[in-house]
């Protein structure tokens, strides 16, 4: 039996509302690395709709869309951006990652993550944004 999640903090509610208006794919994680929201552009990556799935755990995300380091990535891109945001409370940006979407399309992407921290310095979760990579 699953229990109904408690109400999210207003900070996370506002993060979700912001994400729902953005063009870039956004995943919103809680502190356990569970995806508690993803926006419509991210639905294209995962191949499922948030209204159908609700929150999804990290293993399921990894099954739906595979993210791996581009072989041409430099040493700065080898850190795990989500772990950096949630465990070190630091923003991270990785320039060369390969994303395999649920529809098997492969893309080179940049990934930005940052922690969500409230006024009382409580870590609430993290936001991850995907940017399709374009060579300058």
């Amino acid at each position: 039996m699953t229990t109904k999640p408690a109400q999210q903090s207003v900070e996370m509610i506002l993060v979700r509302q912001l994400a729902s208006y953005l063009f870039v794919p956004v995943l919103v994680f809680d502190t356990t690395e569970t995806v508690i929201f993803y926006n419509e552009p991210a639905e294209r990556i995962l191949g499922v709709r948030f209204e159908e799935t609700g929150r999804i755990d990290r293993e399921e995300v990894d099954r739906l869309a595979e993210l791996s380091v581009d072989p041409s990535a430099g040493p700065d891109d080898l850190e795990r951006p989500l772990e950096t945001a949630l465990r070190q409370r630091r923003p991270a940006h990785a320039r060369r990652w390969l994303l395999r979407r649920a529809d098997r399309v492969r893309l080179q992407v940049e990934l930005t993550t940052f922690p969500i921290i409230d006024h009382e310095e409580r870590l609430l979760g993290a936001m991850a944004m995907f940017w399709e990579h374009h060579e300058p």
């Binding site: 207003v10 900070e11 509610i13 506002l14 979700r16 009382e120």
Partner: protein, 281 residues
């Protein structure tokens, strides 16, 4: 508990014969416990009259501020107990990310905005930060949580053994939503209001007025009713009436919203002096 509004108007005081029935004072509500404990919710212009009616035997009063917008603190400097050295006054409210509650209040209670300094008030004054917290005052169990409104803002849930009240006078839970409400998990203020006996909730705008005021931190009457439905409240008192709406216009707008939404609970627009007796206390 007994809940008595002394100010129900939003944004700006609106005195005059056209608003006399609901009242023109800004947000202020007295909550009285079964043992006589008094809590004051917000310090709008209504707090002056509230202070005049406090029992002379009272030695402690607690003022719970939801946020520090002017209409919610402008009466603070005119709150009689602050000038009584025999009184113990506790002010509860949200700090910001960089300033304590005291530092934030000093911006108002200091020249050039006010002649008396916070530190010079003769009462025994204690300030308490309420960002996201639970605390007790006499018979009241109180929960504070941040809610959707510009700047640090909390709502309060106040409970005794027999009754419950939620006070969310400035609240825009529908901000940014395409449909409202959808899911309790993603609705600001839900846990504060869930199943309460009485909800005092922002209902400043009509649906037609809202698009020009989205993001200002206030709700439509329809959204207040829908929020009450989602939270399963037993009674809703629309609050924070628009200063530009006279009594007749307020009746008309609220009647129309209620007729359309058809809530399954009574709706009584908050009015100065019209008390709600909750529970057996």
């Amino acid at each position: 508990m007994k809940v008595t509004p002394y100010g129900v108007r939003g944004s700006l005081a609106a005195p005059g014969s056209a608003t006399a029935r609901y009242g023109g004072n800004t947000s202020c509500v007295r909550v009285t416990g079964p043992d006589g404990t008094v809590i004051v919710l917000d310090a709008g212009t209504g707090i002056r009259a509230l202070a005049l009616e406090l029992p002379t035997t009272l030695s402690r009063v607690d003022v719970l501020l939801t946020h520090l917008h002017m209409d919610h603190i402008i009466g603070l400097g005119f709150f009689g107990p602050l000038y009584n050295s025999a009184m113990e006054v506790h002010i509860w409210g949200p700090a910001s990310a960089t300033l304590s509650l005291e530092a934030r209040l000093r911006r108002y209670l200091a020249p050039p905005l006010f002649p008396v300094l916070l530190r010079d008030l003769p009462c025994r004054l204690e300030l308490h930060h309420t960002g996201r917290s639970r605390f007790s005052i006499g018979p009241f169990q109180i929960r504070a949580a941040r809610i959707c409104h510009p700047g640090p803002t909390v709502g309060y849930r106040i409970e005794t053994e027999t009754s419950s009240l939620a006070y969310l006078p400035d609240h825009e839970p529908a901000l940014g939503t395409r449909r409202f409400p959808v899911d309790p998990e993603w609705t600001s203020g839900f846990e504060l209001a869930h199943d309460v006996d009485l909800l005092l909730h922002d209902a400043q705008y009509t649906r037609e007025e809202y698009p020009g005021h989205a993001g200002w931190g206030h709700s439509t009457m329809h959204d207040a009713l829908a929020f009450g439905q989602l939270a399963g409240v037993k009674h809703l008192a629309p609050f924070h009436h628009d200063p530009g709406r006279d009594d007749a216009a307020l009746d008309k707008a609220l009647d129309a919203a209620v007729a359309e939404v058809k809530p399954d609970f009574p709706v009584t627009p908050a009015a100065e002096g019209r008390s709600f007796d909750l529970g057996s206390a």
